[in-house]
């Protein structure tokens, strides 16, 4: 890491292929480690649980509120404009496609990235600067397993949990706005859900959520590892660079799925 002497600018991380390669290698290692049971020692499990608690549970009320308000607003916009243009019969499908399939995962990823991505990046960058991770290597403990993978797994799970909750809230809101508090609209609603969520759509949706979760968990951590030991100065640039990369990846994933689906 001594080679990273010129890490003064956060934007520089975006245009450095070596940094992206590092992220990819780290992502591969972390993903493999995250799915191997040996990673989860009681200590590591504790770290993962803590990560989930910070990333998901603590922000749950705020996130639910934001999801409900944003959802309600967008549903109303769609309903009013659909009525205006006389395409009311397509508005529920539009809401499900735009809000549940596209916007909720994206907003959740951005929300978690802002709330926790920066925190994870800062924490790991601080550990790198202090040399804690290298110290662990010297004592024979694997820092990837002990510190990083539980955090990454926790963050990814938290994103998945929040996305699920957000989709649940917005779907319920859509039903209530369209049909009110009665089960009378269930047959039609079920039919539209069946139309919108076919197998390919569901698989793409799951894959996108997984990619968002992994990106939110891995990229800030991977970039934070580029901080220089003993140089507190490099810390802000590393954290910010990680966030920049994260946003780039999130946007890229979203655009790619949209292009694949609609182009």
């Amino acid at each position: 890491m001594a080679a990273m002497s010129e890490t003064s600018s956060a934007g520089a991380f975006l245009y450095r292929p070596r940094s992206w390669r590092r992220v990819l290698r780290f992502a591969g290692l972390a993903t493999v480690a995250a799915v191997s049971p040996s990673t989860y020692s009681p200590q590591a499990r504790e770290v993962a649980v803590r990560q989930i608690y910070y990333t998901a549970w603590q922000i749950l009320p705020g996130y639910a509120l934001v999801a409900a308000l944003l959802g309600l607003l967008l549903i109303e916009v769609v309903v009013v404009s659909a009525r205006k243009y006389g395409v009311t019969q397509y508005s529920l499908e539009l809401v499900l496609r735009v809000l549940v399939l596209e916007l909720v995962p994206l907003v959740t990823a951005l929300y978690v990235a802002l709330r926790s991505g920066a925190a994870i990046g800062a924490e790991i960058a601080l550990m790198t600067v202090r040399g804690e991770l290298e110290d662990n290597e010297e004592t024979g403990a694997n820092p990837l397993h002990a510190e990083l993978v539980p955090r990454i797994a926790g963050a990814a799970l938290a994103v998945a949990a929040l996305t699920t909750l957000g989709c649940l809230i917005t779907t319920w809101l859509a039903y209530v706005v369209f049909y009110g508090f009665t089960p009378a609209g269930l047959p039609e609603f079920t039919r539209i859900v069946g139309n919108v969520f076919d197998g390919v759509e569901l698989a793409a949706f799951g894959l996108k959520c997984l990619l968002f979760g992994l990106a939110v968990a891995i990229i800030p951590a991977a970039t934070a590892l580029e901080a220089e030991r003993g140089m507190m100065k490099s810390l802000p640039a590393v954290v910010l660079g990680g966030l920049l990369k994260l946003f780039t990846v999130i946007v890229a994933v979203e655009v790619t799925t949209l292009v694949v689906k609609y182009a």
């Binding site: 200590q43 504790e46 770290v47 649980v49 803590r50 989930i52 608690y53 910070y54 998901a56 549970w57 749950l60 006389g86 395409v87 019969q89 397509y90 925190a119 800062a122 924490e123 601080l126 550990m127 202090r130 040399g131 804690e132 110290d135 662990n136 403990a141 002990a146 510190e147 799970l157 998945a160 949990a161 699920t164 909750l165 989709c167 649940l168 079920t190 039919r191 859900v193 069946g194 139309n195 969520f197 076919d198 569901l202």
Partner: protein
Amino acid sequence: MAEHSDKPASPAAAAADLAAALLPRSLGVKVGILIAFTVMVIGAFIVYVLYARGVFEQTQRMYLIADNAEGLGVGTDLTFAGFPIGYVRRIRLRDDGKVRISVRVPVSEAKWLRESSVFVLDVPLVGAAKLRAYTANLKDAPLADGAERPVLRGDTAEEIPRLVASVRSVLENLDQITDTGSSLQESLKSARTVTERMAGKYGVLGGILGGENNARKVIASIDRANALLASLNGVALKMDTVLSKTDQRVLGSGGLVDETQKAVAQANAILGEVSASLKRVDGILADAQAVAGNAKAATTDLAALRTEVEASLRKVASLIDEINRKWPFERDTKIKLP
């Protein structure tokens, strides 16, 4: 994160200790609830989507054959009376250039489809194509599984140019009809004149006959005809009596017919005599020719014969006179003699 101490020695253990001290005790439970809830929601949603897509429902297939499947997509609903009763599962172009649309219909909804059902593919201007089923008689035999039916196509976009063309010609016709000097205008004008006349003194009669004078004449004619009919009535009565009298005179006993019969009998007898006389004349003439030389001797015979012939002719003439007198309808009094 606040749980990190500044001491680098055995940092993981220290961090864990500190975290355990700072964090709520039920942290594991809360996170467990969250994860369990997430997994449950995801599982329930997948089951719900499978249910919504009809995976747990028994379906039957039917195939619709169309010339053109434009606007139709997999997942398009087949509707009956506005309610979706099935959906398009697959669309395939057959070797003969027709489109085969595979439709899945849940068994519970198959009752709406009968042997006589008609299927229409409707492509509206805005929105996706619609596949509709119409069943006139719900008591027909139910549609068999895997049945193949043609689909009619109602394409709004294709209809519009045709519609515009015909509407234009209709409008042109209308324009011509309502133009100044057009036949409709003339007809209306004439109709107005006629109705004005009809509203005049002689009403409808004046309207039909085209003027009050004519109407007056017609009325006068009718009056005269009435008078004529009255006098004709009298004439008919008289005629009746005349006819009864005539009947008596002509057909009664001693009437005209009777007399005529008698006269005809007489005439027969006289004619017989005439015929005999003429035969004798023939014989005498032959004799006369033969004995032309002895004229003197023959002259006395001839004088007697002549008086005889004249007497017969007079009888015939008087008979014919009598017949003519008794037979009023014969006017030709000429008699041709042999």
